[in-house]
Symmetry: C2
Amino acid sequence: MESELIAYLRRRLPSHPLLRLGPGDDAAVLRLDDVDDGVVTVDMLTDHVDFELAEVDPRRVGRKCLAANLSDLAAMAAEPLAGVVALALPRHGGMELAVALYEGMLPLAEKYNLAIAGGDTNSWDGPLAVSVTLIGKATERGPLRRDGARPGDRIVVTGSFGGSLLGRQFDFEPRVHEALLLAERYELHAGIDVSDGLSVDLAHLVERSGCGAVLHTDAVPIHVDAQRLAEQRADGSTPLDHALDDGEDFELILAVAADDAQRMFSEQPLEVPLAAIGEFVAQPGLWQLDRQGTRSKLIPQGWEHKFD
Amino acid sequence: MESELIAYLRRRLPSHPLLRLGPGDDAAVLRLDDVDDGVVTVDMLTDHVDFELAEVDPRRVGRKCLAANLSDLAAMAAEPLAGVVALALPRHGGMELAVALYEGMLPLAEKYNLAIAGGDTNSWDGPLAVSVTLIGKATERGPLRRDGARPGDRIVVTGSFGGSLLGRQFDFEPRVHEALLLAERYELHAGIDVSDGLSVDLAHLVERSGCGAVLHTDAVPIHVDAQRLAEQRADGSTPLDHALDDGEDFELILAVAADDAQRMFSEQPLEVPLAAIGEFVAQPGLWQLDRQGTRSKLIPQGWEHKFD
């Protein structure tokens, strides 16, 4: 029952200095007096699309729902503040499922000092749908946007890519701390997180910035999972294909001023590896440059929600 | 396609002084420098539960999804600022449906000066689910909460009750302006909006306030739709039963200091009718007092999401 879940949340959710009023009222109340620019993101994840509830621990599902949203805040170089959660639960087993989802979210919320401020819980005959809305705070440098990449900027990425569906799609670490640190120390012109795929998210970024990009394919960090998946699939796809197109890596793509990129690589400020994988160019479009120096069109492939 | 919908939103959503960055990035950016206490609410509405998509114009569905959230801000006496919308759309006809939902929301957003800041659009094989998150601003008097009712306070309601499913469930007006005006001029101790039902929402309010309430049943304003529904149903239910238990009236229940309630009724500050329908008492529980002066337990009945 809805009222039981509210009672659980009132017991279970930790207090937080930002939270003036938590679950159990018509709305939550947050102290925002210290916030000039609020960064707001919402992501709805659904059964059979973003996860298969029958095949995975629901705590990992809950964690993923929150982590994907935290990754969006990371993409804006914003500090996480608070979140609200809306659930559409199947009627049977809904209470246990809701608790498991929250139990998956809470350790991650604590890690990023995020106040879970409340939510809305519904039951229905449909599959599980989880909608998380987060509010973050832009730093003094302002939010990192998609539309600021300039010709000459380096394409810098965190981590490595491909094969996330072997498990990283659930257990990835959102690059919140990395984004905040890099935005503070270096001149980042634009950023996006890789949810749909390295190639398609790079395409989003250049489209919004009104420029193009040349990707050095042999510089793309390929995750061991991309190699494993290419072997498992045996469908002719290469590890590079998986790195470019799989998505749900939840790493960052950044447009970094060339001088600052050089400084970044000499300083190596993160534990997570950083890689320069190409540069932004004036001519709109996406190209790949292979080891032999051959340049060809890069056709972005990745996830898009299709409906007509 | 998701990208087409984003293009539509970027064309269609009006600019707003609070909106530093609208749809098309990883998150929206809002100017919150003028906000001390932010009021955050989320509501997910789903097909076959909150509406029957096959039977109603989707613009009315969109309007309802936004209006129900605005009603939650009204219940907190908060000024609407901005909102984000997450959709899970059926794959076939999803684009047309999404546009219709937004077209239903936009006039209401404009009316309440609410910035639609962006959203998340998904497709799946499940029924339509719409999750709206709103951010509002508490006034200098602070947010109106559920837990402040005191013995002796009058139970004051806006409007009239019952039979909302004959159409008012879609076309109701959220009591945003009314709540702000009343909170400014009178000493309101607590408030809630009637989504689940007058009796059950009054029960929520007294439970949170740690007190009780006596409802004068002959003072409850009964909507003509409650009479029509009782006649249509012919199941022995009275118009009063419908007024107490139907829900989705989206009117306000307020706990008002007795002196201020008197002043409120002499001043009649609203176009919407106000009614005093009883008083809060120290003893926890809900009672009804009928025309003959007989006092009996009031068993709150109304909507609760049931899951096990």
